[in-house]
Every structure is written in C-alpha cells, then in structure tokens.
Symmetry: C2
C-alpha cells in the first residue's frame, strides 16, 4: 500500500513525535551503561548483586515481600496465573477480552499451561464489580489490567478497585495486576504504587512502557509465590545466565522517569483536548487517566494516511506511524506520552492539529 | 564451610585462570557495543535488520533453511522437541540421562509440554547406535548433545553419528542436536558446522559457552519448523521487544572466537596431559575432543579445596572456583579452555601443576 509506505516514510523524517521517549535504538542501552562500572559482575542465573539488589528495590517500591526480574511480562504473567491455579487446584482464570494474554501471546496460557480464561465485560469498557459478582464459574484468579491498554487506557474508579479486591479476598479469588503501565496511572489515582499493589496478591510491571527501558519486567508477591515463580522462570527458559542488560537499563530509566509520570499525565490531558477540538476527531478516554489515549478519526484509512503524511511533511510533527481501521470510514491510533512530547514547540504542535482539522474537512 | 570460602576467595585473587575468557562482567557487553552505531534501530518483537541479518547469517553458517534467535537454549530446545512431538503426534523423545533438559530445567519439558523422555545409555558414556536401535518405544525425536558436557565433553566417533542419523531418517525419527558447544567440537571432527548439522533436522547453538557472549542461542532447521518455533517463542515469553543486547554480543564474540576453536582444542589436550602427569589426578576424557574436560582428583573435598587454595595463593593460577565430590575420597571439576589459558606463562602453569602433584602426596 503506497499510502502506508508514505506514512511510515514521512513519520521517519519528522523532527518531533507526540509519543514515546525517542528512537528505540542501541543508544538507549549505551546511555544506560555509560555510568556503570565495567568491572561490576554479571548476574548469574538469577543470583548476584545486580539482580538481587534490583529485585529488593522493586519489592520495596511495590510494597510486596519479594520480587523476581523476568525477561518479559508474557512470561511473568502466565507464570503468576499458573501458580495461583495450581495452588487452588482450579484451572480457570478471568480477565478482560482484550487482555494481553488473550490477544498477543499466541495462546501461551492455554497451550503451555492448559488454563481456561473466562472473559469478563465487553470489549468497550473495563471490568466492574458486577462482572465479577455475576461470574457463575469458579476461578482461581482474576486479572485486572490497569489501565486497560487496548481501549485507550481506561481505568475503573479507585473505589471500584477496592470493592473488587475486597470481594475477591472474601471469596478466596486471587487478584493479579497486569500493571505493565502501573506507574503511569498513579497520578490519576493519587496513590503510591504500594497503595495500589496492596489491593492485589501479585503484580507485574513492565520496564519498557512509560519507563522506556530496553525490555524486562518485574513480578512481585509473597515470598512463597516468588519462590515458585523462579522455578517456573527456569522452566520457561527465562532464567538467563545474564539478564543485566535489561536490569541495568530498567533501573537507569526507572530512576530517570518514575518521577515524570505526573507530567506525562498532564500532557496527555492537554494533547487529548487539542485532538478533541478537531472536527471528526475524538479521543478514548475523552479525558485521559494516564499518559495514554486512543485517537479516533472518521476517515477511511487510505485518505487518513495521506493526510497524516502531508501534515508530517509540512510541520515536522509525527502523530503516529500507523493507523488501524475500525470500519471503512474510521480509524484509530494510540498515543503514549513520554519525553518526546515536551520537545515539541507549542505553536508547531498547534499548527499540526490545525492542519488535521482543516484538511480533514477537505477530504 | 571455611575451605569452600577460602577456595572461592583465593580463586578471586588469582591473576591467571585455566578456563574461560575472563570475568563475566559488564565490560563484556560494553566491549561488544563499543563499535556499534548508536543510531542503529532495535529489533522489535523478532523483526528488524539486527535480528534478521544475524538469523540469516547463522542459518547459512549452520547450513539450514532458516534460524530464530532465542534468549536461552532452554527455551529453544523445549520448543524444538515440542514441534517434533506435535508433528508426529507422539509425546515421547529420547536423550541422555545427563541431558540439560533432564537435570537443569526444573522439568520444563514435562511440566510445560507434557513430553516424556526416554533415557538412553548410562550416565558414564555417550549414546551409541545400539542404544537407539534397541529402543522399544516409539519416539518423535532423538536429542544428541555434542559434546556430552556432564561427562567431561565426550563425543561419539563421527561414523557413529552418521549411522545414528541414517537410522533415524530411515525410521522417521527426528534428530535434534544440542550443539550448545557445536563450534568447540569441529576441530576434532575435522568437519564444518554445516557438515555436522546436515546430519540433524534441528540444531541449537549457544553463544555464551566457547563463543563467550552475554547470553542467547540460535535454533535452526527447515522453514516450517522455524515458523512454528517463532510462535512457540512468543508463547514462552521469549519474543522480547528487544533482543539486541544478546544478538550484538553474540555476533561480536562469534566473529572474535569462532576461528579460535582449534587453538582451544589443542590447548585442552596440552593441559589435560599436564593434569594426567600428576599423581591421583586423571581427566575425562583422557584426551579431550573439544575445549573441555573434567579433572578427577582422589582426595576428600575439604582437603582438596585447602590444597587448591594454597596453590592459587602461591602461583596466582586459578584452576577452578569449585569442586564437586564424587565420593568421600574423590572430587572433580570442569575445565573449559578459552582466551584466558593462553595468557598464563608456561612456567607458572607448570609450577602450579607441579605443586598439585607434590602437595597431593603430602595430604
């Protein structure tokens, strides 16, 4: 598709980007390693100062007894659910229909762990207490993803979370948090990571979303849960001789960006408001509750991509490198605010959205 | 144990080491990245120039249609066996009793893939053609590990390999190579990697053994096999957004050391001969067939560790950082020749083994 190529090409030439922290290139790792003493020893199969110190730091930050560093969230979360299922001797869990495990993992949970997921809520909204109460099957664990990424990063109100947590504890259902973007929601909730995590039995956090590291994830929970996780990590092939490239970069960018989440959140609200001023454009959520949102535009994909490429070529501001059709006449893309947004001169950003508004009506 | 602590402490102070390529520290990665352009883009979930180029390079080197880079060999090999089992609809494989999958992976093959292994041969020797022919159960796949690491890196004769390969092809049994140390055996066989791999349907090679990279592995085979492997890699949680820290270091050290395997092999033979001249000391194999061997010493562990520590303190040559008892009166350790060996002045090395011989009789 010529338009798609043109969009990708035009995006690559832009000087500014509304999403992310800049290019995902080798320099990211070089920056993370720049101040690290080369003489420092590698971690060795899950042991050693580098991995143990970082695990302890994250356990403390997230308010749990223990933590284990994983190469990926995919691995961490399947393992968390497997442990809860084995412990309860129930091979069923419940999660949202757009849960990462359901749509991005080639059915690893089913194919490797033979766990059956019950899908809660419909695809357009987050899970409510009623969804959980009305479940008529026995489950070992409920997984909540905060924010629900595939619907623009929506969140339940904090009171709902507390009510779901209370209900699960009462019923003996383990509650697991897909907190890939946990740090990003703390400003909206006005809570510490520890306060949010206290509602859950196990929590996973990613280091390459808002934190912007190279890869890797942490899983936290009680001491026995983490002990079991390490055994499953080895079974999955995740107990690498050296995970330090990911650990060092996770730590470096955590230090750099954990304190900037409130800024990203404010900027997301500002930018969403600008999009919502444009004709035929709306964001989900209308008022972001984290650093992310989806932009929906009522235009056919080929026309939209042509228009976007023109905007990039004129203003130098890249709004997105792709679009996804939701119908023949509408598309969306995801915005995720990081360090790059603040680098865009405000008048250039406004010009870019002005062009989107103006050109849209011309098509 | 005071002796153990003393051994580890004394080993850390040594200026020379008979095994390895030097310290496993952060500098290894820094060295690998030093000449890499920071502007080069990361691989993204298995796509992109860095990963695709390296996979193609390894497929060519190993003489197979296609290749996929894995974070670990544990993951690569379980997946290879799973694919062959699924394809043949037989949930059984055969391998050596000291196979990595049997003793180092917390039973991942059984717990995740529900594959039953049949153990071939006894623990002291490698698998022969007779072991395979006499199998009275139907298996999907036979795994051979070359060299057989846990018994000092022993190898079958090349004719035996060819005969096993022919037999498996005739019987429709898939043949998988645990070639974690494949490069290390090529000088003994006098074959290219491609020639050895041609005997197998699928091959795994590690990048942090003789190659000395940070971590990571390659799995090669036919196009459909590799296509399936990528799906399972995602299921296992190994399809990371960025594997480049491992890929770049694998490539860097492959270029640096693939051509040095003959040197390591000659040095292993030289060093084994020196050990075998010592009283109460013998190596397995007596004549190494790769860069590795085991050193067996007829002494109780606590006495041996005391003696070794004394040798390190006197000569500055570290022979091993650990010993493992095989009985109340004997122990062994593994030697794996890398770049470090050539740095030891010959007279210092000889003095060190002279002391081992002399002091052994004094205990």
């Amino acid at each position: 598709m010529a338009e798609k190529n043109r969009l990708v090409h035009a995006f690559k030439q832009t000087s500014y980007r509304i999403s992310g922290h800049g290019e995902r290139n080798i320099q990211v790792l070089k920056d993370a390693l720049a101040d690290v003493d080369g003489e420092q020893s590698s971690d060795i199969y899950g042991k050693g100062k580098i991995i143990e110190d970082f695990q302890e730091k994250m356990a403390t930050y997230l308010g749990k007894e223990d933590a284990v560093f994983f190469p990926s969230g995919t691995m961490a979360q399947q393992i968390a659910l497997r442990i809860w299922c084995d412990q309860q001797d129930i091979k069923k869990v419940a999660y949202h229909p757009l849960c990462h495990l359901e749509i991005h993992e080639e059915d690893g949970l089913k194919e490797l762990h033979h766990i059956e997921p019950i899908l809660l809520a419909d695809k357009t909204r987050v899970i409510t207490l009623d969804d959980v109460v009305e479940l008529d099957e026995e489950i070992a664990c409920l997984l909540l993803e905060l924010p629900q990424r595939e619907i623009g990063g929506q969140l339940p109100e904090y009171e709902t979370l507390v009510a779901i947590s209370d209900y699960c504890r009462e019923k003996g259902i383990k509650l697991h948090l897909d907190g890939a973007r946990l740090l990003e929601i703390l400003p909206y909730y006005g809570k510490t990571a520890e306060e949010v995590c206290a509602l859950f039995d196990s929590v996973y956090v990613s280091f390459y979303k808002g934190v912007g590291g190279v890869a890797g994830a942490i899983l936290v929970g009680g001491r026995d849960f983490i002990k079991g996780s390490k055994i499953w990590k080895r079974r999955h092939g995740g107990d690498l001789i050296s995970l330090y490239p990911y650990i060092l970069s996770a730590d470096h960018f955590f230090e750099k960006r954990a304190g900037k989440m409130a800024q990203y959140y404010e900027e997301a609200k500002e930018l969403a408001a600008l999009f919502n001023e444009c004709n035929a454009v709306s964001t989900t959520p209308e008022h972001p509750v984290s650093n992310m949102f989806h932009v929906h535009i009522d235009m056919p994909q080929n026309k939209l991509e042509e228009l976007l490429a023109e905007i990039y070529e004129t203003t130098g501001v890249g709004l997105t490198s792709y679009t996804r059709p939701t119908s023949d006449t509408s598309c969306y893309f995801e915005v995720s605010i990081g360090d790059s947004y603040a680098e865009i001169p405000k008048e250039v950003l406004r010009q870019s959205l002005h062009l989107l508004n103006k050109k849209q009506s011309g098509y």
